[in-house]
Structures are given as C-alpha cells and as structure tokens.
C-alpha cells in the first residue's frame, strides 16, 4: 500500500466523483432519513423537531385516509412488480426463442421489439392513455369489423375501480408476518441440515421471538388494526402492466437472445444425441443456462417497477387511487401538500424496498468479481 505516482493519480482522478457522490447521493440520502424523523411541514423558517419514527408508524398503522392511500399504493406496487416482471420475462423469453430460430429478417424484428425501449415512459404513458381511453381507444376496435364498440363501463382499463381479490391491511400484515416466521424457520431447518448450527440458532431464535411477539404478545390483534376500506388487486393496474411490458419486454428479449447465442451448439447437439426432443433441450439445457440472465433482468426490472412514477402519472393522472404508487404519493405529499417530513418517510420506504432488491445482487456480484 505504498503511495506511488500511479496511486496518487488514481486517487486524484477518483476524488471529484467520490466527493460529489458522497455529498449529492449519500449525503442527501442521510438528509432524507433525518427529515423523515421530523415534523417538517410548510415553508416557514420555523424550528423543526424530531418525532422519532412517528411518520413511519402513521404510514403503516395510521387511520387517516392519506395513510390508507400510502398502503393502497404499496399494495399496488407489489402487484405491479410481480405482474410486470413475470410478463416481461415470459414475453421476452418467448420472443428471444422465436428470434433464435434463425428466421429471415431477424434484425428487423429485433429492432422492432427493442424500439419501444428507446422511448421515455412519458411518451409511452401518453400513447397508452390514448389507447386505453375507454371511449375512444382500443374499445372502438370492433367497429373496424362492423361490430359495436366495447362498453366503456365494462372495459374501463386504467379507470376501472373494481378489485379482484380484496383484503384488509390487517390481513395483509398478518400474512406477511406469518410468511416471515415460516421463512425464518425454513432457513433454520436448512441450516441445521447443512450442519451450520450458528446460523440455524440465530434464525430459530428470531423466528421464536417473532412468534412470541406476534401471537403471545397480542400483536396479532393490534397489528395494522385499520379496518376500512379494503385493499386488493386492482383491475386498473393491469393496463399499466400492459403499457410497461410493451416498453420493457424488448429489453429482456435482447438479454435472453444474447444469452441464447452464447450457448454453444455442441451442448444442444449432445442433448439431442442423448435422446432429448426439442422441448426437453430447452427444459434441461437451455433454460438452466439462462438463469443468471433471469436474475439480472429481475433486478433491473424490479428496481424500475418499485420506483415507477412517470408512466402512471402521465397515463392515469396523479389522484387515481386504484393505480396509485408510492412515488406519486411522495411527490404530491411533499410538493403539493407541503408535508415534507411525511414525503421523506415515503421516500425512505421506497429506498429500503429497492435496497432489498439491489443490495443482495450487489453483494453477489462483488463476491463473484473477487473470486475472479
């Protein structure tokens, strides 16, 4: 670790970006965390004081409608993320496999499928707002073939107020806690089987204490005891999923296609010689080799969907409850409602959500790099 001229040059070149990042990214993340624990409202020069975790407590268990709206947004985000990733992955894989059949004009199709990615979400949102407009968009398609337009109240797209599955916030939080407990016990059991007693013990202890807090400590009754109204899987969300998938499935297609091209033909040949039919070649040879790509794509799509704002804001407006997401709610709370502390708290929760997705991936990537 001696300072030679190379090291000094390296440090000098790195320093500006490190300093800028430290201030403008991490400094302000810290700032946001701080503001989230205060009661800063309004634009006055009044002293703001710390209120601890009250803002978070309200968001998750407060009875006011603004807090209900946050939880609705959270449920929507989860629904959107699951559907969006599933749709992008499956459609992308399907297109990639089709293109991989050495068809003619492959470049043309590849460009066509990839093209929506070049647009911004704002453009996509505007276009699909027109397409899904219940009175004038896709609903009028049957008239081209002499039929009647689809009724706007049945085919309401992003204006739909219906919910598929409904549940209260109390149900949802109980289910989440039970899942966490089951997950911890499963982890402990696996660790025990692999003869890692320390890990097994820690996971088991945490699981047991959660059980204690949850069932014996009375949390089961009180947790999220906010009854009305119900949350649910909102039909309107599907329109957003379609628009987002239209834009991003070309991206997964490109990734899968590159990976497919990277699989040596010999492997497939070997499988065929061993008696696999084409389906089995994909099932046992190709798909397992695509797994790392799937993971990368999930990470990229996951952090897009957890942070989504522009697409929905443009497509469905800012106050459309059934397609609300935390990003929109944060913007309106902070900059329209002047409640900066609550807005910061929502931002923190969004950051943590994304961190759950990104950090394990980064750790994993970092480890692999070191190994190399």
């Amino acid at each position: 670790m001696r300072l030679n001229i190379d090291r000094i040059t390296a440090l000098a070149v790195l320093a500006p970006s490190v300093i800028l990042l430290a201030i403008f990214v991490y400094g302000f993340i810290g700032q946001t965390f701080y503001i989230a624990t205060t009661n800063w409202q309004g634009l006055g020069a009044v002293e703001i004081s710390s209120v601890g975790l009250q803002n978070f407590e309200r968001l998750f268990a407060g009875s006011g409608l603004p807090f209900f709206r946050f939880r609705e947004a959270l449920v929507n985000t989860v629904v959107f993320t699951v559907l969006f990733i599933a749709a992008c992955l499956s459609l992308g894989l399907f297109l990639a496999i089709l293109l991989d059949q050495r068809i003619r004009a492959e470049t043309l199709f590849r460009t066509i499928f990839l093209f929506p990615m070049a647009l911004s979400f704002v453009v996509t949102g505007t276009v699909w707002r027109w397409l899904f407009s219940p009175r004038s968009g896709l609903n009028t398609l049957p008239t081209l073939f002499g039929g009647a337009p689809l009724p706007p109240d049945q085919w309401a797209w992003f204006t739909d107020r219906r919910q598929l599955v409904t549940f209260t916030w109390a149900d949802a939080s109980r289910i989440v806690v039970i899942l966490i407990i089951l997950g911890l016990f499963a982890f402990a059991a696996i660790a025990a089987l692999r003869r890692r007693p320390v890990q097994a013990l820690i996971a088991g202890m945490i699981g047991l204490s959660l059980v204690g807090w949850f069932f014996l400590g009375g949390a089961f009754e009180t947790l999220g005891n906010v009854v009305r109204p119900a949350h649910g899987v909102n039909l309107a969300m599907f329109s957003i999923v379609i628009a987002a998938t239209w834009q991003m499935s070309g991206y997964t297609m490109a990734m899968y296609l590159a990976a497919l091209r990277g699989i040596p033909e010999e492997l497939r040949e070997a499988a065929r010689v061993d008696g696999c039919n084409e389906l089995q070649v994909y099932r046992y040879v190709v798909l397992p080799l695509l797994q790392p790509i799937t993971l990368s794509a999930m990470i990229i799509l996951g952090h897009i969907s957890l942070k989504i704002f522009d697409l929905i804001y443009v497509m469905a407006g800012g106050d459309n409850l059934r397609v609300d997401v935390p990003g929109i709610h944060m913007y309106l709370t902070a900059f329209r409602g002047n409640n900066f502390a609550l807005g910061a708290a929502i931002a923190v929760i969004m950051l943590l959500l994304v961190a759950f997705v990104i950090v394990p991936y980064l750790i994993n990537a970092f480890r692999t790099e070191v190994k190399r």
Binding site: F28, Y34, L43, A45, R135, T159, R161, P229, F335
Partner: protein, 419 residues
C-alpha cells in the same frame, strides 16, 4: 442549517434545470413566475408588453412552468423560495393557497401600503379584500376573477331531449334517468380534480352560503349531518356521471357536452373561454350557462393574483408590476384575453368590444351576488388540506363510504387548520 442545505440541493436539482434565468441580480430586470402557457399565455404576454411600454429598459423574464394545472409550477416555486432564490413576483390563487402556504411562513411582504397609496381599498369588492387580508394586512394584488359554480350545456340539445336546466340537484336527479335512457350521460366529469370541483359546488348547494363559510372557518364540523348529506347527494350525482371520467381532461369532458354525448357539465368559467375561443361557439347560442344547481345568487369565486415575496431581487420593478396588475388598464388588457372578469369593480366590463356576453353576465353576478371562495382553486382551504382532500374524494369515488369521508375530512381540517 441542515434544512437550508437540503433546500439548496433541491434548488440545484430542480431549479437549475427548469429555470435558466435564475439569479437575475441587479438592474433592469423583472422575473414573473406563473403557470400560464398555451391558451393562457397571450394574456400574460399582453400584460408584459404593456409593462414594457411603461417601463422601457426593463428586461422582463417570463418564467413559466407548465404541467399539472399549476402543480408542477408550485413545486418549482417552493424549491426556489426555500433555496432563497425567489422570483420578483409570482402567480398565486388569492386566499388560503397564498395565506396558508406563504404568508404564515413569513415569506411575503404586506401590500397594504401599496393598496392605500394607489387608492385601491374601495376599488375591489369587500369580500375579496377580506380574502386577501390576514392579520390585518393585505398580501396580494388580484388580477382576475373566475367563477367555479357554473353549469354548462348546449341549448339546442336540451330542446331536442326535452330537458330543462335543473335549478336544484333534486331536479337534476329527476331528469337523470330520462337522459340515461336516451343514452346520454347526464353529467360530464373528468379526472379527479374535476370531481373535487363538482363536490365543492354540491357542498355549496347543500350548506348554503353561511354553512359553506362556517365549514371552512372551522365553525361547522365536517361530520355534521348537513355535510354528510352533501356526501350522500354527491354519491347519487356520481351515479349520473360518465364511468370513464378518470381518463378525461377537463377539456375532453367539456367536449362530451359540445358533442351531445353528455347533457350538463359543472366547471369553472375558463370553460367559456375554451368554448368561445378554441371551439368557436357563441355564448348563449352555441353553449348555455346557469349557476350550478342550488347555487343561484351565489358567486363561488377564485382569483389569480400576484404577490411580492420577501427578498425579491428587483423589488422596485416588482412594485411597478403590481401597480400595473392592479390598475384598470392592466386588468382590461389581461382579462378579455384570459377569458375572466376583472377583480376591480370600476373596470370597463360593460364594453362589448372587450367582454363577451358571458363575461358581462358573470361581472353582473359578481357585483350583486354573495361571494364565497373556491375549495379546489386555493381560496377556501390551505394546500395541505386540499392535497389530502383530493385523496378523500378519490377514496370516496371508489368506496362511496359517507361516514369514512366525513370523519376523514374532519381529521384533515383539524390537522391542517390555519388560524
């Protein structure tokens, strides 16, 4: 200190990107901040041109931020004010949007002296002066008046359907099924804010002038039976609106009426400007207007105004701007183009070359009716209340739960009151 640091950062990110003209220090400059672009742009430009004629050599910077019916502009304005970089003067709705956000934050200069020296104290209606007064001082110069409680329709279509203009919501609910049977949407509605706009006028009809004023003065509870009755009535009215409301802008909802797909539309009188200028219809012939049901004799108003922020870089130029904005000449230049009526009572509203027949009738009502302030457009309630109230309305539209809406509104009113 920390807050100041953060504010600077927000300005760095938003302000620099959006307003290239920041930090206009010194000499002959004047920066006017607004969200008037597109259809509303020419009115502001005419006013700026007039300013340049009177004050030659002053470079006027027209800092407009469009989008979201002013929401985007107000967000940028907040970051600039927090960052200590105010424009010389900015557009703001007279009333609680100004008081609740800026005056209580001690970021405005009082303008009582200006009103006194210009002799304006008796040139604006008393109810309007009350609206812009807080702690005994006047804080802003109103440039125009819009009316919120107007119901629009096409007379020829109503004749064809055999429908009268309803004078009360009960009358409206009576014709609702008749129109539905004909395949016509009884009442057009657009995205969420137009629903809030509709609700404030239902509220006004249900509570009357006194009740409406008491509600926003904190003297009447949102959980009172009369307010709950307004929510229940709103529920019935919503059943007469188009199911795709959330997909329509206010102009698209207006188009439904013009095209004969919907019968009535409750919207502010910028709709008159839209139908006259953009659609080329004649007031009274191409489109008709009446006070929204149950609000005859009441003028539910909102007013665009300009204030003087503390620390304005070109204070003298800004004061000259305010003198122009509040003058008869300024108001008669601005309003015919904007499609609104002047806030001054001595402006030239009878002049048919300037003001069309709709605007003349609005001006007559403005002079004689009881005035109340609009909720949706920043007069009656502070931004913090309005922001969350829009959530309440969107939840109500989805759930139709009267008790929930009532208790939630009361909780909001208590949490956000400006007294």
């Amino acid at each position: 200190m920390l807050k100041r640091f953060l504010s600077l950062a927000i300005v760095f990110v938003l302000g620099f990107a959006l307003v290239g003209s920041v930090a206009a220090q010194g000499g002959g400059k004047l920066e006017i901040f607004s969200w008037w672009a597109g259809d509303e742009g020419p009115a502001l430009e005419a006013l700026i041109k007039l300013y340049n004629q009177k004050h030659t050599g002053v470079e006027v910077i027209n800092a407009t931020v469009t989008g979201g019916a002013g929401v985007a502009a107000r967000a940028v304005l907040k970051t600039r004010m927090l960052g200590g970089n105010p424009p010389d003067s900015f557009q703001v709705h007279a009333g609680q949007e100004l008081t609740g956000t800026w005056v209580v934050a001690n970021r405005m200069e009082p303008l009582t002296e200006l009103f006194r020296s210009e002799g304006w104290l008796d040139k604006f209606p008393k109810d309007l002066i009350d609206l812009i007064t807080y702690n005994g001082e006047i804080w802003t110069v109103p440039v125009n008046i819009h009316r919120s409680n107007v119901m629009w329709y096409v007379p020829a279509k109503l004749q064809e359907w055999g429908v009268e203009v309803p004078k009360t919501w009960d009358e409206f609910l009576a014709v609702c099924p008749k129109l539905k049977d004909r395949g016509v949407t009884p009442l057009a509605m657009g995205e969420n804010w137009t629903a809030v706009h509709l609700f404030e006028n239902v509220l006004l009809a249900q509570l009357g002038v006194e009740g409406y004023r008491n509600l926003f003065a904190g003297k009447l509870s949102w959980e009172d039976g009369s307010v709950k009755a307004a929510w229940a009535l709103f529920d019935k009215i919503l059943n007469c609106t188009n199911p795709d409301a959330a997909s329509l802008s206010w102009q698209q909802a207006n188009d439904l009426v013009i095209e004969g797909k919907a019968a009535f539309y409750v919207m502010g009188d910028w709709a008159a400007g839209y139908m006259t200028t953009t659609k080329g219809l004649k007031p009274g012939e191409g489109y008709g207007y009446a006070p929204s049901p149950g609000t005859a004799g009441v003028f539910n108003m909102l007013s665009d105004s300009f204030g003087l922020p503390k620390g304005a870089p070109n204070r003298e130029n800004a004061l000259n701007w305010l003198r122009l904005v509040g003058s008869v000449e300024g108001q008669d230049t601005f309003n015919p183009l904007k499609g609104s009526i002047p806030a001054r009572i001595d402006a030239d509203v009878k002049n048919p070359n300037l003001y069309n027949s709709y605007l003349q009738s609005a001006a007559a009502d403005f002079a004689s009716n009881a005035l109340v302030g609009s909720l949706m457009h920043g007069a009656a309630a502070p931004e913090a209340f309005l922001n969350d109230f829009q959530t309440v309305v969107s939840v109500f539209i989805a759930t139709r739960d009267v008790d929930l809406a009532a208790s939630a509104s009361q909780a909001l009113a208590e949490a956000t009151a400006v007294r």
